[in-house]
């Protein structure tokens, strides 16, 4: 009975929040609407990275690569890039192209995720971090050197805005339609990821995160599960990439640097690894606060990375479970009971000793 009440309160809360997210932006300035769009696309990224880092415990430092592949997929296939394709000139493509690419990114990013993941996900945690970082940089360098396909260092400008098919309504420069599209993607993503988290797959991720060797011994196909987390993260970032490219209508390699990956990571950590509401709140703080401060104090941009770098260290020292911790994750990251504290002053391998031999 009590449980029913709790869950209905929660549903009501979510409904109110959603309604506010839809109605509220209509009454603010365009500049503030732009900030909301920024937050929403960033939230999509944190949602995806949370699956990789928070659920499966895989530190991906090149996550922005998937955002880039999404953005470049639309920019190149929309016909705005230096290489023109026959089909991009048709009226059909003008109307449906964006939506087809949005769906196609699901396939392409899943493919890229599996392609990058299957060799690298066998590595232990710290090696995975640096290899993904390397991949992130490779994607950026390749994008800035393939002049014929990606426009090289100049990037691609004039990426078309989407149009609603049949109705013929163009998104144009108005931020609101993008915001609603992103909110729809966020709702869809949250719903799907929440479902996964509570399924067999979610439990497998927890098991892998806690002790990979034990999970393997219990019959969990660890590589397959890790790949799945990686691919889901990749797809989510791809959606954000497509929408962002269409919104900003210009993309270039410097937007996809390593710092952006770390910023997304900061949002996941701040909100609470493994917590879906946490990653949304984290995105709001990391993307929203600087953008809102920026409206008033334009030099803040210089301090952004500095502040968030310090924040990451501070969080790890004082509140590793994040602002809105997931219950399971908090138990893992919190200092353990007195009995365990005896082994203090040991090296980090003492706790993850099993991982070492993997």
């Amino acid at each position: 009975m009590k449980r029913d009440l709790q869950s209905s309160i929660r549903i009501a809360g979510v409904a109110v929040a959603l309604l506010m997210a839809i109605v509220l932006p209509n009454f603010v300035s365009i500049a503030a609407q732009e900030v909301f769009v920024l937050i929403a696309s960033f939230a999509l990224l944190t949602l995806g990275l949370n699956v990789v880092v928070g659920f499966a415990g895989l530190l991906d430092l090149g996550y922005v690569a998937f955002f880039a592949t999404g953005a470049y997929t639309w920019a190149i296939l929309s016909g705005a890039g230096p290489t023109k394709f026959g089909f991009t000139q048709t009226a059909f493509w003008e109307e449906w192209g964006f939506w087809l690419i949005l769906a196609f990114v699901l396939v392409i990013n899943m493919g890229i995720g599996v392609l990058l993941g299957s060799p690298t996900l066998r590595l232990r945690g710290d090696y995975l971090a640096i290899v993904t970082l390397g991949f992130g940089e490779i994607v950026r360098i390749v994008a800035s050197n393939l002049d014929n396909l990606s426009g090289g260092a100049q990037g691609i400008s004039g990426v078309p805005h989407p149009t609603v098919p049949v109705v013929g309504f163009g998104f144009g420069l108005n931020p609101l339609p993008y915001l609603y599209l992103l909110i729809a993607l966020l709702v869809l993503g949250t719903w799907a990821i929440r479902g996964l988290d509570r399924s067999r797959i979610g439990r497998a991720w927890v098991a892998i995160r806690e002790d990979e060797v034990a999970a393997e011994a219990m019959g969990i196909p660890t590589l397959k599960m890790k790949l799945m987390a990686f691919a889901i993260g990749a797809v989510t970032a791809g959606f954000a990439g497509v929408v962002s490219a269409a919104k900003i209508n210009f993309i270039s390699p410097p937007s996809f640097d390593i710092f952006f990956s770390i910023l997304i990571l900061a949002a996941v950590v701040l909100g609470g690894m493994g917590s879906i509401p946490g990653s949304l709140v984290g995105a709001f703080i990391i993307a929203g606060i600087p953008a809102l401060v920026q409206l008033r104090y334009s030099r803040f941009d210089e301090f952004r990375y500095w502040a968030f770098g310090g924040l990451l260290v501070t969080m790890m020292i004082f509140r590793p479970q994040g602002l809105i911790p997931s219950k399971r994750r908090a138990a893992e990251l919190q200092p353990e009971s007195e009995a365990d504290a005896v082994v203090e002053e040991s090296t980090p391998s003492a706790r993850s000793g099993t991982e070492e031999k993997a």
């Binding site: 640096i130 500095w306 968030f308 770098g309 260290v313 790890m316 020292i317 090296t347 980090p348």
Partner: protein, 319 residues
């Protein structure tokens, strides 16, 4: 290509010896903590910047009068670069890692803390010094130190070595780095503290029981790595003539690659890995164009980790 090859080798050995110096920092820390100190690249950057600040203060307007004076200035700048590097590394350990170690935090927490520290350190410098490249004052002027055309090699293989001239810059960087690495290697092998480091690397718990002060060993390890990283920063800044807040990133990740290539935790492996990587990326850059040089390094990293994660010479500090 064939006429270019010897140039590439000289440049590769010079760059590689800097990678090796930085790689020692990664390897030493990995040995005792099994932790990749992602923020080590910023220690390198701190060394490079402090070298620049000292040189700007001591070198007269218009550069050093003679090559000898230039060398003296460089030696003067080496000390603060090493001290700042060492101090930065120790401070990093105190602030970003030690609290986690006390709590026995999972590995992910260390990595995140390291990334955060790296971002924080780099951007502190960005706020202080601004985002632009700063030039080193002129000290030792670039000269040809060795003309292989006049030597035995040049006479017998004029096609290959006849026109090869090695710059004094490459030679100085290489020799300086080799000397420092030799000193470190002997220190780790022969001194009492070095024995402590090796003991902790082999088995921290047992070493603790045998009376080794683990915390002290860890601090000293960070200090040693930081000193070498700071020196590498100065050499790098001097040989390219510039530095800036983000200068640590690429050499850092390449040095890490070098450490993994040689077998992380293995001091001599880091040396070999650094030189090999320097050679490889310079030769690859010659074949495919300079813009693909960094991609070549990353590919080496990925391939080594996938197929031979223990590196060419095996993991861990030797007994």
């Amino acid at each position: 290509m064939t006429t270019e090859l010897p140039f590439r080798i000289a440049g590769g050995l010079s760059a590689g010896s800097i990678y090796a110096l930085i790689a020692l920092g990664y390897t030493l820390v990995y040995g005792v903590l099994q932790l990749i100190n992602f923020a080590h690249s910023e220690v390198f950057m701190f060394g490079s910047l402090s070298g620049l600040l000292v040189l700007s203060a001591v070198v007269p307007e218009g550069g050093a009068e003679s090559q000898i004076m230039g060398a003296a200035f460089l030696l003067v700048a080496l000390v603060p670069a090493m001290l700042v590097g060492g101090a930065a590394a120790v401070a990093l350990e105190r602030v970003a890692y030690r609290p986690l170690r006390k709590r026995n935090a999972p590995r992910l927490a260390y990595l995140i803390s390291a990334i955060g520290a790296s971002l924080f350190m780099a951007n502190s410098i960005r706020i202080w010094r601004g985002p632009n490249l700063e030039s080193y004052p002129s000290t030792i002027k670039s000269r040809i130190a060795l003309d292989l055309g006049d030597t035995f090699l040049g006479r017998f293989f004029p096609d290959l070595f006849g026109r090869v001239r090695i710059q004094n810059r490459d030679l100085i960087v290489f020799v300086a780095a080799m000397l420092m690495m030799l000193a470190l290697d002997q220190f780790v092998r022969r001194s009492k503290v070095g024995r402590g480091i090796r003991a902790v690397a082999q088995d921290a718990e047992t070493a603790g029981l045998m009376g080794v002060d683990i915390s002290r060993v860890i601090t000293i390890t960070f200090l040693l790595g930081g000193i070498l990283g700071g020196a590498a920063g100065l050499l790098f800044g001097w040989s390219f003539g510039v530095t800036q807040f983000s200068i640590g990133f690429l050499p850092g990740i390449k040095a890490f690659t070098a450490a993994v290539l040689g077998g992380i935790g293995n001091v001599r492996g880091a040396l070999a890995g650094g030189l090999l990587l320097g050679l490889f990326e310079n030769i690859a850059g010659g074949c495919f164009g300079v813009e693909w040089r960094d991609v070549a390094s990353f590919l080496i990293l990925v391939l080594v980790l996938m197929f031979k994660p223990s590196g060419l010479f095996g993991e861990r500090v030797s007994k």
